[in-house]
Symmetry: C2
Subunit: 339 residues, 2 copies
């Protein structure tokens, strides 16, 4: 291995817990010495990092067995890819490109077992944070296992111009959906849903109540709903779901910035009447599906049948702005930071 004893790296720390919408002042860019990798560890120079809405939840001080809060004063975490520049593991050599969960910093030191070597011949490296990463796998697990799409189903995808939603809409079609409906904020995004992401109908949640738009777009109801939003979207979907309908809950962006408890849908009794299933998921429970999924999705990227978009921010210092933009709905497709 090469010695990097004098290496110093930048990292983004949580400076303050936001109340409501986060501000740039809730983050702090700092420099810190990079530790030497110990036996079994690798040192990675991060090249891309992922920014995702769920990170807002980890900025709150709410205990969670699955997604513990970020620590005040410590660097944030999240998916990233990079190049291995030092290795004390026989499994991961210097020069390999890996994905891992220590983003928000220039250099990451981690156990080799916590990194996944990715094949840069299959797709551009940053695809492993998006369509070939946790984002794509979330859509895949949601629509094949959590709320499986059957031949002929009508499927509704929220946040459909986002990283998960954009993949999910196209995946629903590949799984046999007869009609795929997406929601997004503003005419630019809804235009993209129809023109680029292959949706049959696009609802603009800024243009009016989503329930009425969904009822219009799906006069015979929906069978599957992919929820990244919660709130009015979830209520509208519960109204629209047919008997035996299924909802995969992968996020609840409508509530992430709430400063007081936000009441849930008033129509939950419909879950009983219509024998609905609402199921929450964390992609971490589906990592065993990664090889199967990547094999399929890399083919779809290569043959052009899976359209993806990226919103790229340049420089680690722009990562907080990237998250704020993502939470405001300002970005399309996968939000990435190029380091």
């Amino acid at each position: 291995m090469t010695s990097h004893s004098t290496l110093t790296g930048r990292e983004i720390r949580l400076a303050a817990r936001p109340v409501g919408e986060p501000a740039l002042t809730d983050f702090a860019l700092a420099e810190a010495p990079v530790p030497q990798p110990r036996d079994g560890q690798i040192l990675v120079r991060n090249t891309w990092m992922s920014v995702d809405p769920y990170m807002r939840g980890r900025m709150n001080d709410v205990p969670s067995p699955v997604l513990p809060p970020f620590k005040l004063g410590a660097p944030l975490e999240g998916s990233a890819v990079g190049e291995v520049i030092a290795s004390r593991s026989a499994d991961v050599p210097v020069g390999a490109t890996v994905s891992h969960f220590l983003g928000w910093r220039d250099y990451a030191v981690l156990d080799a077992a916590a990194a996944t070597v990715v094949d840069t011949a299959l797709a551009p490296v940053q695809a492993y944070l998006g369509a070939l990463g946790a984002t794509g796998l979330t859509a895949y697990a949601a629509l094949t296992d959590v709320a499986p799409v059957h031949e002929g189903d009508v499927v509704f995808v929220s946040a459909a111009a986002g990283a998960v939603g954009g993949v999910a809409g196209q995946l629903a079609r590949k799984l046999g959906a007869a009609k795929v409906i997406g929601s997004a904020g503003g005419p630019e995004k809804t235009g993209k849903l129809l023109a680029d992401f292959g949706f049959d109908a696009a609802l603009d949640h800024r243009a009016g109540p989503i329930a009425a738009q969904l009822a219009d777009a799906a006069p015979d109801g929906i069978d599957v709903y992919l929820d990244s939003v919660g709130g009015d979207h979830l209520e509208a979907a519960i109204d629209a779901l047919n008997v035996g309908g299924r909802a995969a809950l992968v996020g609840a962006i409508s509530g992430y910035n709430a400063t007081a408890p936000v009441p849930g849908p008033a129509n939950l009794v419909q879950i009983v009447y219509k024998q609905l299933t609402l199921r929450g998921m964390q992609v971490g429970a589906y990592l065993h599906l990664f090889p199967e999924y990547i094999a399929k999705a890399a083919g779809w990227l290569a043959d052009g049948t899976l359209h993806t978009e990226e919103t790229v921010y340049d420089g680690l210092d722009r990562a907080p702005a990237a998250l704020l933009g993502n939470l405001r709905g300002a970005n399309t497709g996968k939000t990435l930071v190029r380091l």
Copy 2:
């Protein structure tokens, strides 16, 4: 067959759609000529009928593909048992005891295929409306299929002194639950939960917030929740459910009398974080489990390991009072009307 051309029967009709809590004046007792059974039909003299909270929902004029509203001026419907006094079906002879869905009346004329002949040697006939009927099957399907109980689980049952809940608590134990917690209204019922229904802990929802009581009773969380209540109970259960937890939603009595939309739990994002499954059920989807269930439950009734209670109202004219008592939480165990 015997001719009954001059037979007249009493029936309870929906006189008005209630707003909020139903009143006795929303029901009307009327007499009507009993039609002759046609080919393939039977004429049943009802001896017992079931009264269940879900019937309140059918008194509202809300379209439903599964539970359509009762019609104004027409007799109500619901589970009943009785004796076949005329038959034009080779399958169901005069003298048989049958269960069916045309309660709220002295005499029912129905297709023989819509009736089930019951074995009165196994258990008292009214048991086929309770522990051996849709009530017991609801508990069984909920805890074996909808939200399956695994060995060692902590299980929380709402409305635990009610018809479904009383069976469910004991069933959870038989399925291997390590701890079974029930909620009911008032000290008399919670006393029964501990003394007679075999619960390990009993929460009195009239004595204080259910969330705090549940947290005390289940310091390590719960794994399965049977929801007949909705509202505060569902919110408390979502807070208490462990990662991968399961909730079977079989009713929502807290909202049945609501005159305006009642907001749902404010903590639905926990469904995502903890990968919870909320699944609604209608017992009609599980009728195929009836033979398997009755075989087991009749054994438990015979060997005394399944404790049941009944609250009996005498006379068809008392059926509205029986439903009102049931909705107010005044009754314990199965609410029945003896005709």
